[in-house]
């Protein structure tokens, strides 16, 4: 390797190290400090699991966790039910304006969440709903749609429609074809979309902030309230927990996806 080649190789390494240090140091600092026994948050004195145990006794937090999970499950399911037929339908037809419809299902990604959040609040109030669990689910479903739609679209792009045609040529009913051929083939895309939507819903703060009512607060909204009061070990522990939950789901998702890809390659 030439001198400049070596130098470039080295600068590449340095770049990668700095880049990942920037991405990961805050996360490790946060999780590390959540195990600090001391109350003074940023001075390390010793390892302790206490702050996590205390969270288990926190009724408000447990209620918020239940709301968060309910909303995430419901909106990921609804968004999948909306995105799946749209993605399949758009793939099997061609007409003018098809591309703009395809764009419409991605559009929620291009609107800042604060704008959608206040719009959703004004909207649910104007149709006579009061902020609460139902409005949370309505709002979350809307911004989850593209996250369900895009993986299914990607899966369809590599889809062999002749299998579906073969199935109906062999006198399989439409429902049977859907159940036995189309859906199993699309399953990785559907599952990916569902999981992404689930995480995105779980992590959302701003839409929940505007749409939650008394008694239906999600975990991020609860945490935001605590952060406003101050930096405490309890907040460290909840924030770390939030990070660990999404990181675990992401890694599981990744493993599942690479395995399904390996199966396809075989």
């Amino acid at each position: 390797m030439s001198e400049t080649g070596k130098a470039r190789h080295l600068s590449g390494r340095v770049l990668v190290v700095l880049f990942f240090l920037f991405l990961y140091f805050p996360l490790f600092a946060l999780v590390g400090l959540s195990f600090n026994e001391n109350r003074s948050v940023t001075v390390w004195t010793g390892f302790s699991f206490d702050w996590y145990l205390r969270l288990l006794e926190n009724e408000d937090l447990l209620l918020a966790a239940r709301t968060s999970i309910t909303v995430a499950l419901a909106s990921a399911t609804l968004a999948t039910l909306i995105a799946l037929p749209a993605a399949v339908g758009l793939a099997r037809t061609s007409f003018r304006g098809r591309n703009s419809l395809d764009g419409a299902f991605r559009l929620p990604l291009l609107v800042p969440d604060i704008v959608f959040a206040i719009g959703a609040l004004l909207f649910v109030l104007s149709i006579g709903l009061k902020p609460g669990l139902a409005t949370l689910i309505i709002g979350h479903t809307a911004f989850c749609i593209p996250f369900c739609y895009l993986p299914i679209r990607a899966r369809i792009a590599g889809f062999d429609w002749s299998l579906v045609d073969a199935s109906s040529d062999l006198y399989s009913s439409r429902i049977r074809t859907l159940r036995r051929v189309t859906l199993p083939l699309l399953f990785p895309g559907i599952a990916a979309g569902f999981l992404l939507a689930f995480i995105v819903s779980l992590d959302d703060f701003i839409v929940s902030f505007f749409l939650s009512g008394p008694g239906s607060i999600t975990v991020p909204v609860y945490v935001f309230g605590l952060i406003r009061i101050g930096v405490t070990p309890e907040v460290n522990a909840i924030a770390s927990l939030l990070v660990m939950v999404s990181v675990t789901i992401t890694i599981l998702f990744f493993i599942a996806q690479s395995q399904s890809q390996r199966k396809v390659e075989k």
Binding site: L15, V16, F22, L23, Y24, P26, L27, A29, L30, V41, T42, V43, I82, A83, P85, A86, G89, L90, T93, L101, A104, F105, P108, L109, V111, P112, D113, I114, V115, F116, I118, G119, A120, L121, L122, F123, S126, A142, I145, L150, I199, L202, D203, F205, I206, F210, P220, I227, V231, V235, N236, A239, S240, L242, V243, S246, V247, I249, I251, F254
Partner: protein, 297 residues
């Protein structure tokens, strides 16, 4: 055949109705609310379209009822534009070499590096910004580290500053920039670089004339994905800017909270959307075929 397409249209039609209801409904609600005025007890007075909320973006009555320029909106708008632009540029500078680096690794390393970039992106945004409070605050991790190297150091005083907001925004959205540029870089044929070098072009000329133009779709997609959420951001300026350095997102939220001037909040949101559309139009002109989201997603 016609039966099948009839089913396809139904399959598209129903989700489209749902999307219209769930997503375009709220956007229309904002537009409608921006042409109303504040009801005496807060909330909205729906009687007749008025343009007061828009006038109020630029002029606001002072103590004596005379109109003067509305500093809150104008400064929040320019600050949001400035910080979102800086964030996009910093992310570009960091992401382009990183994306190129990843695209030239072996399949295994590539997958690992991409996973490592994706993980923090899915971690909770609130928690990630909160982590920076721990680092930047007075006597926080950064101050303690600097003080142990340099005793008597007074502290950086970084928390609750524009710099802190900038750090938080870059940290929040950097992965959005890397992934689309990587998608472009991966399709890139590196023989073109050798060809350009063999024909006597310098390294910088090769990058400027060959590499960057071919990365443009990824760069545009990444810039859009970073710029939009930065421009309308609420969490970062709230947590790391301490609410002093208001960006548009905070100003909008304020109208729906303490100020209870929903019409004004809706008008600011419309202003934000118009600002974003203008930037998108400019970017579309730069791109060969216009930016699209498929680069990253």
């Amino acid at each position: 055949m016609s039966n099948r397409s009839a089913h396809s249209y139904l399959a598209i039609g129903l989700p489209l109705l749902a999307l219209a209801f769930l997503f375009f409904g709220p956007l229309l609600a904002i537009l409608a609310a921006s042409f109303t005025e504040r009801a005496p007890n807060g909330g909205i007075d729906w009687s007749g379209p008025v343009f007061d909320a828009y006038t109020a973006l630029f002029y606001t009555p002072d103590l004596f009822g005379e109109l003067e320029p509305n500093r809150a909106f104008l400064s929040a708008f320019s600050r949001s534009l400035y910080l979102a632009t800086c964030t996009t540029l910093i992310c570009l500078v960091a992401a382009i070499p990183m994306a190129i680096y990843i695209s030239r690794r072996s399949e295994r390393t590539k997958t690992l590096l991409l996973l490592l970039i994706t993980i923090p992106f899915w971690a909770n945004l609130l928690a990630r910004n909160y982590a920076w409070i721990l680092i930047l605050r007075a006597n926080g991790l950064l101050d303690s580290a600097l003080q142990s190297i340099w005793p008597g150091f007074e502290g950086t005083g970084l928390l609750y500053s524009e710099t802190a907001i900038l750090i938080g925004l870059v940290y929040s959205f950097l992965p959005f920039m890397v992934l689309p540029i990587f998608a472009s870089a991966e399709r890139f044929d590196w023989d073109l670089v050798s060809a350009s070098r063999d024909l006597g072009a310098s390294v910088s000329r090769t990058y400027g004339k060959v590499v960057l133009p071919l990365l443009t779709p990824g760069i545009l997609a990444g810039s859009i994905l970073v710029f939009i959420p930065s421009m309308g951001n609420f969490i970062t300026p709230q947590l790391l800017g301490g609410g002093q350095d208001f960006m548009l997102g905070n100003l909008i939220a304020l109208q729906f909270g303490a100020s209870r001037n929903w019409a004004h909040g809706a008008a600011i949101a419309v202003g934000l959307m118009i600002g974003i559309s203008l930037v998108l139009l400019c970017l579309r002109r730069l791109g060969p075929k216009g930016p699209h989201l498929s680069g990253g997603a």
